[in-house]
Symmetry: D2
Subunit: 159 residues, 4 copies
């Protein structure tokens, strides 16, 4: 799935998600997270920004499962993934000691960008749902960079 | 500015922002934040989820400036603001020791919901930009609740 | 092992550690933690306060392994563990993507207090080492409370 | 105040604090912190690790007030302060919306090390109290380094 034209930040990332989820016959990558005190706030629920931490943990484990452990990736290629847009719906509160599943699916990809659709679920109940647009950047100059070819191929197969 | 119809989560919150910013003749509420080590990550920049912390600090100070200190608000009225959708564009990285300004503007409001447009800036340079949709909830039942009237009036005047 | 006399905050908790570690013939409870971006800072290493998060995760999993899952514990007994003193030595930096092991040993215990010795290790290399003194408190009044008897027995067996 | 002999990690750092506090006729540097949701946990109080964040904010502001802004310090001298030991007493819980004062005093100093005594207070009430031992390290090699002379003089005057 190639991307042509200008960056699409002004358009809702969310719209394509359903097709991506239902159209494929593979289940998304999933990573478990336990909710500890550090994740919660005085309202008794997970603090809203912390779902973004959970989602990044899952993306990191997903990339590692595809054969791209983060530290090696950056050391060998001098590139990193940087989030440049996030859209998150907070659907229900998660609470202390919950075991959550965090899913990752690549739903769009270009030579230097990647969009993931991610969910945090407690059993069958969706807790948060997000679209995260990432850019591959050259860490020395902090400029967009092409993803290494092997990662491009791996993502191609994953979408 | 009243809100009719169903929840608008599926529509981009972002679209209306420009009018709100340029149409008014007031400048938005602004709150300064210094970047400490705790805010940064190994890529040498502010960790993406932490901008949501900065934005909540600014919302809290803005509500306090409107006469609604958070703790009193919850104790007296039994209600709290919960984020139910966030859209964030990460435009440029902030770094250790930067002094940032975080702005808040109310751009939409209903009896139990509020949408803020927020920016994190370093001088004139935009760093992140977000739309945050908040719901006023009854903290005992975690259900939508009408905002207290004085807050509704204060927000009416602020939009 | 009962505790008599005044709170011992003024004395070094650290001193007894070696006996506890070497005297027993059991290995301590251990819990793995992967280092993500969220854990690191702009110096390229794990941010110092975050080791306390890792240590609490390990304590939570250790209590769960002893049969005392945190949420149930608080709901049924109305008590929680609160840290009242921590001594931490930061021996070496952990870095992005490291897999760490976090150990927990109960080294002292009273009716309403517990002291854990904890280490964060990367393979055989110690990264941080801590003594954490916890108090069991009644969460309604935030006052010291006796631990539930079954937990006292479980800890007795674990020391 | 010079430091002779081996590193003093095995000895309680706490013991000397009172003299340092009462012996001088200057009041310690103090920095205000507001407690936001991000700082609290599901027990309704400030999460224990977050006091270390508050203390580092105060140390950073204190160094800046002495003329050593952190980023410039590292850029010009290639050195940073790293915590190598912390002792913290958690005396009372802070809560959402509290305004806290965080103090910093240098209580011991060598050519490459610094010990601060710090308190978090709510008005006159002590909330946490800590001794933090820092090492000045060369950030390229992560080895102890002498503090730049101007900082040594500034600290000399401050103790």
């Amino acid at each position: 799935m190639s991307v042509a034209g200008p960056p699409q930040d002004a358009r809702p990332l969310w719209g394509k998600r359903r097709e991506a989820t239902h159209g494929g016959n593979h289940s998304p990558f999933s990573f478990p997270v336990r909710v500890y005190y550090e994740d919660t706030d005085a309202a008794g629920v997970v603090y809203y920004a912390n779902y973004l931490k959970f989602m990044e943990r899952a993306r990191t484990e997903w990339l590692a499962a595809l054969g791209f452990p983060l530290a090696a990736f950056e050391r060998e290629h001098g590139v990193a993934f940087v989030v440049h847009r996030a859209e998150i719906d907070f659907l229900a509160p998660a609470r202390l000691n919950d075991i959550l599943d965090v899913t990752v699916e690549a739903v769009d990809r270009g030579a230097s960008r990647l969009v993931t659709a991610q969910e945090v679920r407690r059993g069958d109940e969706p807790i948060t749902r997000a679209r995260i647009a990432l850019a591959c950047v050259d860490t020395a100059r902090w400029k967009p960079a092409r993803m290494p070819k092997p990662l491009q191929y791996a993502l191609e197969a994953a979408i």
